[in-house]
């Protein structure tokens, strides 16, 4: 009987001492964390998917609290989470400019062709590894969908051999920008539509042979623009989004209609 009592008392004492030691160290070595960090963390979805580019929701919350990541950086939480986090961080949710991905190619199967029948792994990055140009245009969209695979929101579809971004679904996480081996995808402001839907840097006559939808570098857009926003470099028109007022004059004049007019949604569904 005495063994039972001794055992109970000793083990209880050990437990109490250990508990007290835990409480003491918990207080003594408490690490001050930014209270905003846990508040931000509560507003993140907790999927730990990594689509934001951080190691998980905890890392993302820490980055947002430190100001290293934007409040709307979580692609999964979307606008709702971004608004709540913006309130926590004390920033204006509207000031967080929403960005969307834009594919700078409209070389569908109707306007251009493949020059090689690639039968390897259906992935753009492995398709460029063999050193051959699968598509006739060496700048154009391959259409094997590396961007589709990485998109956490299913916002990209391959339509007739060209990746097309659904602007309503896109949250501007930028994963597809990194995934595209030909660097075709840009992030641009969600309310901006006027953009050049081509990346070909060949001279005009060469482009015409490769693709009837490509930018031929004729400079008509440059002459039309009153705001000095369109420039042709390496026979390819580029629009300076910070100067562009979306007047649409360049799109009107473009002989190959490679510039998207302001009315139509960029990356247009018809492409």
């Amino acid at each position: 009987m005495s063994t039972v009592i001794v055992t109970t008392v000793v083990i209880t004492l050990v437990g109490v001492i250990v508990g007290l030691a835990l409480v003491y160290t918990g207080k003594k070595f408490r690490v001050e964390i930014d209270p905003r960090e846990s508040a931000v963390r509560e507003n993140l979805p907790g999927n730990n998917c990594g689509a934001c580019g951080f190691a998980g929701c905890d890392a993302m919350a820490a980055a947002i609290a430190k100001g290293e990541a934007p409040a709307n950086g979580c692609p999964v939480g979307g606008q709702a989470a971004a608004d709540r986090i913006a309130v926590v961080m004390g920033v204006d949710p509207q000031a967080q400019e929403k960005k969307v991905a834009f594919v700078r190619c409209k070389g569908t199967c109707e306007v251009t062709h493949d020059q090689a029948n690639y039968i390897g792994v259906k992935d753009c990055r492995s398709a460029v590894l063999n050193g051959l140009n699968v598509t006739e245009c060496e700048y154009g969209c391959l259409g094997f969908g590396s961007c589709v695979a990485v998109c956490p929101r299913n916002a990209i579809r391959i339509r007739s051999g060209v990746a097309v971004v659904d602007r309503d679904r896109c949250v501007g996480c930028g994963l597809c920008v990194k995934a595209c081996p030909r660097g075709l995808i840009d992030l641009m402001a969600a309310d901006h539509h006027v953009a050049v839907q081509c990346s070909n840097k060949d001279k005009g006559p060469v482009v015409k042979k490769l693709c009837t939808a490509g930018c031929i570098g004729c400079m008509l857009c440059t002459r039309q623009c009153e705001y000095d926003a369109v420039h042709v470099e390496n026979s390819l028109a580029r629009i300076d989004y910070s100067k562009c007022t979306q007047c649409g004059k360049c799109a009107e004049k473009c002989p190959v209609k490679v510039i998207i007019p302001p009315a139509a949604p960029a990356g247009g569904k018809e492409a």
């Binding site: 063994t3 001794v6 055992t7 000793v10 083990i11 050990v14 437990g15 250990v18 508990g19 030691a21 835990l22 160290t25 918990g26 070595f29 408490r30 690490v31």
Partner: protein
């Protein structure tokens, strides 16, 4: 001196905790997919087991033995080791964020590793004194690290191979571990 070296070598190679005593298999198979993670886990295990065997030894000699309740050692060790790891974790988080970050999630994970408890229990069973306990714990943990890093490097290579479908995944890992275990039996022939 020779006896002390023998304790370390025996813990690390001859009586390898994973491949010979079959303790800590869960983390051995679970965290051996990548070299980096397995190495981190290995170092966390070295850290935890060494400290845990020291504390368990002190506890056994100065609490359990005087009261004559050695039979409670399993429960007391579980309790103390779990709390100890928590305390160490808090201490590291505050004092050395760099170490805390590199050990990361493995530290709390090891709390429930049977290898930690197994070493503490084997130590007192063998009647080791304090110094021998620490050395034996350290040696055993080094053995765990060796085993898991070896298995991880095997698995990294296996992943690229074209295996028959039924062997893919867990089966080939178990077979690799078994072959490693057989290989480690060769250390049983070491004589000093």
């Amino acid at each position: 001196m020779k006896a002390l070296i023998l304790i370390v070598v025996s813990g690390a190679l001859i009586n390898n905790v994973v491949l010979n005593q079959f303790l800590g298999i869960c983390s051995f198979l679970g965290v051996s997919k990548q070299m980096k993670a397995s190495a981190s886990l290995g170092f966390a295990v070295i850290f935890v087991i060494t400290i845990a065997s020291a504390v368990a030894s002190l506890l056994y000699d100065f609490v359990l033995k005087p009261f004559g309740i050695e039979f409670m050692k399993t429960i007391v060790f579980i309790l103390v080791i779990a709390a100890l790891v928590q305390i160490v974790e808090m201490f590291l988080k505050k004092k050395s964020p760099a170490i805390y970050k590199s050990l990361g999630i493995f530290l709390p994970l090891i709390t429930t590793n049977c290898a930690v408890l197994g070493v503490a229990l084997t130590n007192v069973q063998n009647g080791y004194n304090f110094g021998e306990c620490v050395l034996s714990g350290f040696g055993t943990a080094v053995g765990f690290t060796i085993a898991i890093v070896l298995l991880a490097s095997v698995r990294v290579r296996i992943r690229e191979e074209d295996l028959p479908a039924p062997l893919r995944g867990a089966p080939i890992v178990l077979i690799s571990a078994a072959l490693m275990s057989i290989a480690f039996m060769g250390f049983g022939g070491l004589s000093f």
